[in-house]
Symmetry: C2
Subunit: 558 residues, 2 copies
């Protein structure tokens, strides 16, 4: 035991940061601690009191440092290991979560001159107030036929670096002018740890429109807004670090914060979803990891570069160096189930769940689990939050077909579970049809607890389903990166084999159910194309009608 070495992975989520101490030799998770951000998500008003418009979502960077100061030492104590035996630390972050800093990495919001300026703060991934800017970026890129656009399924998100930066320029030119670096929080936290700024390949590619070593051109940027022409050159461009590499060494100050030895390896930053791949031992080409929560993020490495319709992005070294990292997504999954459970289930169900000490989800799942495939007579489209992959259309919406007076809440619930599985199957088939093979599906995230859902996914996709066997996938993945950065393993794949954990083929497809689902999937596909590919754009028109009606009534969209 005295020879054991350890690494720390720190997962920066939306509301809290989690530190996890892991043994280098086998990935054993020895202790963890969570620190909730005191400012959580800032949506209504700045700490200084300034009110925020709708769709804003900010964070306060000091909250992130506190995770290092509080959660890391707590986790080390909980693990009961000698801090001196910790050889590396790595982080992962939500993305695109981005902030303006000075050249030395000081967040503008920490300068007294800017403390009351909303645009000086961290823009959280779910800050959605730059939609206008994103629309213009997309429109211009389509018109100019920008080569990078197909790498993102034809659509740049309002959540990403360029749309958010353009919003700063147009709404607070002073803050924009004072911004010397436009930094992903994933890289900023690494900068805090090692004192040097390294831009990681993952966020630069997926969120920063870096493709083939280049960014959108000055001409493109100038066409968006004259003052934006030098954005890349002045504020964004920076040497790239590959995943698993050393970004630098733990500074004395960061050693003091964390209680870890000064000088240990600090790994290049990463995104929470993508770093889950090594935790699930899914770094080989064709191993698709679905991180299933309120939404689902799919990440997969491949040896080939193809333009797969409707991907969120394909990035060189986006998951592991040397391979093309593909990302796809389903905009709504768990949040659809949550919405239905909150708004569509009668009192008697809630009462029974309460009485039995289970959740309404569990009750509905239990009742739905006894059904044969197709028994509910329904087929649904899982587009309540739009459709990211493969239709890339946030104006789509949900559908349920087949309800009768005999339809019960558990019927609709099961139809919604199935709809998201059908959505996953569309993504898998699109990968294959585009020449990007998928050899295995590994699931991670909170929804893996629902065994019915998992079995439905296995049956619908007709593939064995492997399950990440850790409750702390991202933090474990970060710890694996830390071990690689510390030199304990030659590369991420080798480290993942030793330290990752997966229950291989935990759910096997049943051929009879799979055949029955083929019939329902055919119905889903017909409706998918009818509503989603322009035959009947009723959903867009309904949203337009809704917006007009609400505007005329003087109401904000809820």
């Amino acid at each position: 035991m005295s020879n054991d070495r350890y690494v720390v992975g720190v997962d920066f989520g939306t509301l809290s940061g989690r530190a996890l101490v892991v043994r280098v030799s086998d990935g054993a998770e020895l202790g963890s601690a969570v620190y909730e951000y005191p400012h959580a998500v800032v949506t209504d008003a700045l700490p200084a009191g300034v009110a925020l418009p709708p769709e804003w979502a900010l964070q306060v960077p000091q909250d992130y440092r506190e995770v290092l100061r509080v959660a890391v030492p707590q986790a080390v104590r909980a693990a009961a290991v000698d801090p001196a035996a910790v050889v590396g630390i790595a982080t992962d972050f939500t993305a695109c979560t981005v902030l303006p800093t000075t050249a030395d990495g000081t967040p503008l919001c920490e300068l007294p001159a800017y403390a009351d300026r909303p645009h000086a703060y961290v823009k959280l991934w779910r800050h959605h107030a730059a939609q206008g800017q994103a629309d213009r970026i997309n429109e211009l890129a389509r018109r100019r036929g920008e080569a990078w656009l197909p790498r993102y399924g034809g659509l740049i998100s309002s959540e990403w670096e360029f749309a958010k930066a353009l919003q700063v320029l147009e709404e607070d030119p002073e803050v924009y002018a004072a911004t010397e670096r436009w930094v992903e929080a994933a890289d900023w936290i690494v900068w805090q740890l090692c004192g040097s700024y390294v831009r990681n390949a993952c966020t630069a590619g997926y969120k920063g429109i870096r493709q083939d070593g280049r960014y959108p051109s000055p001409e493109f940027l100038a066409a968006l807004a004259p003052g934006f022409a030098r954005f890349v050159v002045d504020k964004l461009e920076h040497p790239i670090g590959q995943l698993g590499e050393v970004a630098g060494r733990l500074t004395a100050q960061a050693a003091a914060w964390t209680g870890l030895p000064e000088g240990i390896a600090v790994a290049v930053g990463n995104i929470d979803a993508h770093v889950t791949a090594p935790a699930a031992q899914a770094t080989e080409p064709g191993q698709l990891v679905a991180i299933m929560g309120t939404s689902t993020c799919h990440v997969m490495s491949s040896t080939v570069l193809r333009e797969v319709p409707g991907m969120c992005g394909v990035v060189d070294g986006g998951i592991v160096p040397g391979l093309w990292g593909y990302e796809a997504g389903q905009s709504g999954v768990g949040d659809i189930f949550g919405w239905f459970t909150r708004t569509g289930v009668p009192a008697a169900y809630e009462a029974e769940a309460t009485e039995r000490g289970i959740s309404v989800h569990e009750l509905l799942t239990e009742r739905a689990a006894g059904q044969a495939v197709g028994e509910h007579g329904l087929v649904a489209l899982d587009w309540h939050s739009g459709n990211r992959s493969v239709l890339v259309d946030h104006e789509l919406s949900g559908v349920v077909v087949g309800q009768t007076l005999a339809t019960r809440p558990e019927d609709t619930y099961r139809a919604l579970l199935e709809a998201t599985a059908f959505g996953t199957r569309v993504i898998l088939e699109t990968f294959r049809d585009s020449g990007v093979p998928v050899s295995e599906v590994i699931v991670a995230g909170g929804l893996t607890r629902n065994r019915l859902l998992m079995q439905i996914y296995a049956d619908v996709t007709r593939m064995p389903l492997s399950v990440l066997a850790s409750e702390q996938g991202p933090a474990l993945g970060a710890a694996i990166h830390a071990a690689v950065a510390a030199g304990a393993y030659p590369d991420i794949t080798t480290a993942a084999k030793a330290m990752g954990r997966v229950a291989r083929a935990a759910y096997l497809p049943d051929e009879e159910r799979a055949a029955a689902y083929d019939e329902l999937f055919a119905e889903y596909l017909t409706l998918h194309d009818y509503f989603g590919r322009g035959t009947n754009p009723v959903m867009k028109r309904l949203k337009e009608i809704r917006r007009s009606a609400m505007a005329a009534a003087g109401r904000k969209e809820n």
Copy 2:
């Protein structure tokens, strides 16, 4: 006052009979009484203990006589009128509710030899176990191009006289052989009152396939089943009475039951929906009455005979003598709202409704009423119980399009209200497009209490909505028939003008809302045709899949 004369209308519903005493001169409703059938609807086992298969729904004829014995004298007492001043009585009945009797009108189930034979009892309108027989009738009629089929929108119902009789023949030939008359309950109760059997033109036409004075031919019947060839000749055919005519005079026995004077006029029988037309003063050509309850029945007279697609039936003198009576229907209306309210509304809503002492319907209506047209972003199809008019397809089912995570129960509720209004508009437009003008819409039934629903119907149809101003439309309509039979008025229309009551143009369409609804109706129509006219028969396939799945799992459809 001493010169006032009175009539009694008796409305035989599904669970009870209601007697209403009405003043002849002005239709004033003076007193009423309800008698609940002791046997209600017999679905599980006969009174004698014999178990019934699924889909059966029987009644016990003695329950109907008890209405005469109990409710009629009670109503007369409640009205505080002199029984001697009552000049006529009329009845209306659910239909097709039909029973086998001997030549003197004795129900076979009242003969000890048949008391334990299910087929000897009254088959209530919603006995649905003759679907197989109905399917064969339709298939054969289509193949032979029977001229009467288009008069029924191309589809005979399993609820009607022929399907139910064929079921008796095939499942209990002895009972069939013992059946000397196959009698509508609407006529049987009149027979009980006046001692003579008169077959009314309304049920004979709508439920008995009587068209142009003829029934389906012996050749047709023989092709269905050899033993069925003489069904019309032996058991069904009988002299026809027109609506409002005298069927006979109250017998001594019926006078003893009811406490009414022997020898007063007994009117020809009628159907509850159709008799509502005179109560609503809607007997002129083009006045469409929508009786809105769990389902909606539309009745309208016209001078012209046209084959209107998807009608339930068109019958010479079906509503008033001398005009063509059209009947259309929406299979599900109030029962869709009821289903949603029972199964799709969360505990918090139920708690608020309870606390405020209102129904969940009222709460949802109140919340939905504040919305602008289209604000909910939804469009629904109202086919949870299939679609009668104009698609004539009971394999269709419900759809909701446009749900997002912001969709609330009141949004879906309002979309369902609107869907039924769109369904009504399709019927109105089909009448007009077929050359049968609709000049006015009058609504009746329990749903008229929902003011939001009424306003939506006015806005969606862009027509002023008149409302029957009586809570007891069918019984009032029957009383009007009684007055005509008693000779107090020359015809039903004249009597209706004096005795019926309607709030004319109680709801006026708002042009702005009507224009907004035009947009949503266009979406409804597109989906209506896509799902309902064969472009995508997904609903039929889902029902087929459901049936197979349930059969394989050994479960009965619920």
